[in-house]
């Protein structure tokens, strides 16, 4: 039987509460799980018990997401730099010296920034639909790119429907062949958080700042080339946002990278957690302790 004892904890980082899930032996190698939009560490609820038999698994909620503090968008500058600063503060507070990272969606630009700043700490990277190459961006990004080019209120308003219940469900079901695999609590909990007072505004701020992630792609590539960090991509090949060429592209800078595709959508862990968990365990076995 799996060791599925998970702790639900909160730690103060600077001025804000960061919520996180933790499981597994305290002295085991650490894997840090960094979630995406519009979810939280909740997306790792089924992966954590698989990894925690052999690893210490830590999954924080980014600022503005899940159960971490979500300061008002006018009093906090919602940028990926700032989200990363709180994850940096989080790993410093927990005293994490060496760890692997698993990154998904928004977790990728946060995790890659963290790796650039702390290359000595990172033992390996797993990206699940966590992009770092322009060829991975689908046409679905067009309205967001329009907002980057012209940050007008009109272009901002055009993106608001992306935070609606309909679109949240769409993200979960698109590309999924067996829809009965999607747990309703996934999109319902995400929407509960998005519907909180003015949470949509901070999400719109982050859509805008995503341009800075694309601007940092060359920096990420340089880090990949110089570090040759062990790398595994596990990718839902029917993701409407991040296309399979984005997964293959990691090999340009990391020739030894392993790239595995799964017949599913953006939230690949909702349908393929056992298969992806197995790949991650195999990969983690190969890393230095």
């Amino acid at each position: 039987m799996k060791n599925s004892t998970v702790k639900y904890l909160t730690i103060k980082v600077n001025d804000l509460n960061v919520f996180y899930r933790e499981a597994g032996p305290k002295d085991a190698p650490v894997i840090l799980l960094l979630h995406g939009y519009p979810t939280s560490s909740h997306m790792y609820r089924n992966l954590i018990p698989i990894l925690s038999e052999k690893y210490r698994v830590i999954a924080p909620d980014l600022i503005g997401f899940g159960y971490s503090d979500a300061p008002h968008y006018k009093s906090f500058n919602y940028t990926f730099d700032n989200l990363t600063a709180y994850v940096q503060g989080f790993i410093d507070q927990l005293g994490l010296k060496r760890f692997a990272i698993q990154v998904f969606d928004y977790g990728a630009p946060v995790g890659f920034r963290l790796a650039v700043a702390n290359p000595e700490k990172i033992t390996g990277i797993i990206s699940q639909n966590g992009n770092a190459y322009e060829e991975g961006l689908s046409d679905g990004w067009n309205p967001i790119q329009k907002y980057w080019a012209d940050p007008s209120q009109e272009n901002r308003e055009n993106l608001r429907s992306m935070t609606s219940a309909g679109l949240t469900q769409w993200q979960y079901f698109t590309g999924v062949s067996d829809k009965s695999l999607i747990a309703p609590e996934s999109y319902i909990l995400d929407q509960y958080f998005l519907d909180r007072d003015e949470n949509a505004e901070l999400q719109l701020d982050l859509f805008k700042d995503y341009a800075n992630n694309v601007a940092m792609y060359p920096t990420f590539h340089q880090y990949f080339r110089e570090s040759q960090v062990p790398f595994l991509a596990t990718w839902g090949d029917k993701d409407p946002f991040f296309l399979p060429p984005g997964a293959e592209a990691f090999k340009k800078d990391l020739p030894d990278a392993t790239v595995k595709f799964f017949d599913t959508g953006h939230f690949a862990l909702e349908t393929h957690v056992n298969e992806i968990g197995e790949e991650i365990l195999k990969f983690l076995e190969t890393l230095p302790k």
């Binding site: 799996k2 599925s4 009965s180 909990l189 509960y192």
Partner: protein
């Protein structure tokens, strides 16, 4: 079927779409898992993960609960009797044969009502923090007693807080040994479902109907005494609704009942699903 997965499906029973979670291989021993407030079938999510390699597991949401349809009150009276009829038909329509039943909270009255009508339907009974005895009513139920005896605006105030976040936390946290083991998703999700339009009236009507369960208790006690079913009792002993006295009363009438006590709340699965899964495996397979 991919035995590693949990499936989320619906089945239409008398025009009502009943949502259910399904896991495991149909040829394995069957368990139907029944729960009501506050978190419906999602209470069993982790237990199903634990047991899905060895059992065929089905966990429906009652009409009006979770992801099942919420029939309008003009066409469906939210009573324990009516819900038990829908769930009985659900079991038949799904083709379950001699399933074992796991009953938690409101799942108990539903189970006893079905079993009273069809004593042969269930193979064995796993009861968790569910009740059939006056002495099994804990402080939170005693607090609600004036409402069950005489429903009016004043007595409603005694039970309305149960539908707020603080009230829902009572089920999860009151009596829990280590609060950091309680997944906040569980009570946030429960709050979402219980906050939907119309839910307050439905839940208050159903809670008021709990008085019909208390009236049935003597019949269920007679059923237990006369049939001496194979029983596993797994209990969160600090439950404020149905504390350990509820389990001890059952054991008095069914002395072969196996009792396992856990130092936790009403929703004992939150802290102890792996322990309870082991007890179930031993009970049903060993």
């Amino acid at each position: 079927m991919n035995n590693q997965a949990i499936y989320y499906k619906t089945l239409n029973v008398d025009g009502i779409n009943i949502f259910y979670r399904e896991a495991g291989d149909k040829s394995k021993p069957q368990i139907i898992l029944l729960n009501g407030v506050p978190n419906a079938s999602s209470a069993f999510q982790e237990l199903m993960q634990d047991l899905k390699d060895k059992f065929y597991l089905i966990a429906p949401d009652f009409p009006g609960f979770g992801n099942s349809d919420i029939p309008d009150q003009s066409v469906f009276d939210y009573t324990f009797h009516n819900i038990s009829v829908v769930i009985e038909k659900f079991i038949d329509k799904l083709g379950l044969t001699r399933p074992n039943v796991y009953a938690l909270g409101y799942g108990g009255p539903i189970t006893f009502r079905i079993a009273s009508r069809r004593p042969e339907l269930f193979n064995t009974y796993i009861l968790q923090n569910s009740n059939a005895y006056e002495e099994g009513l804990g402080p939170a139920m005693i607090n609600a007693a004036p409402y069950l005896q005489n429903r009016n605006e004043e007595t409603e105030q005694l039970v309305k807080p149960l539908l707020t976040l603080d009230g829902i936390k009572l089920f999860f946290l009151n009596g829990a040994k280590d609060q950091s083991r309680i997944n906040p998703d569980s009570y946030q999700n429960a709050l979402y479902y219980l906050s939907r339009p119309g839910q307050q009236k439905i839940q208050l009507d159903l809670l008021y109907d709990y008085r019909t369960n208390i009236a049935e208790y003597p019949n269920w006690q007679r059923f237990l005494k006369q049939t001496q079913p194979k029983l596993l009792l797994v209990w969160g002993k600090n439950d404020v609704f149905f504390p350990i006295s509820a389990a001890e009363a059952i054991q008095r009438d069914v002395p072969t009942a196996e009792l396992h006590v856990f130092d936790t709340s009403h929703l004992a699965l939150e802290e102890h699903h792996t322990d309870i899964a082991e007890k179930i495996e031993t009970f049903l397979i060993a």
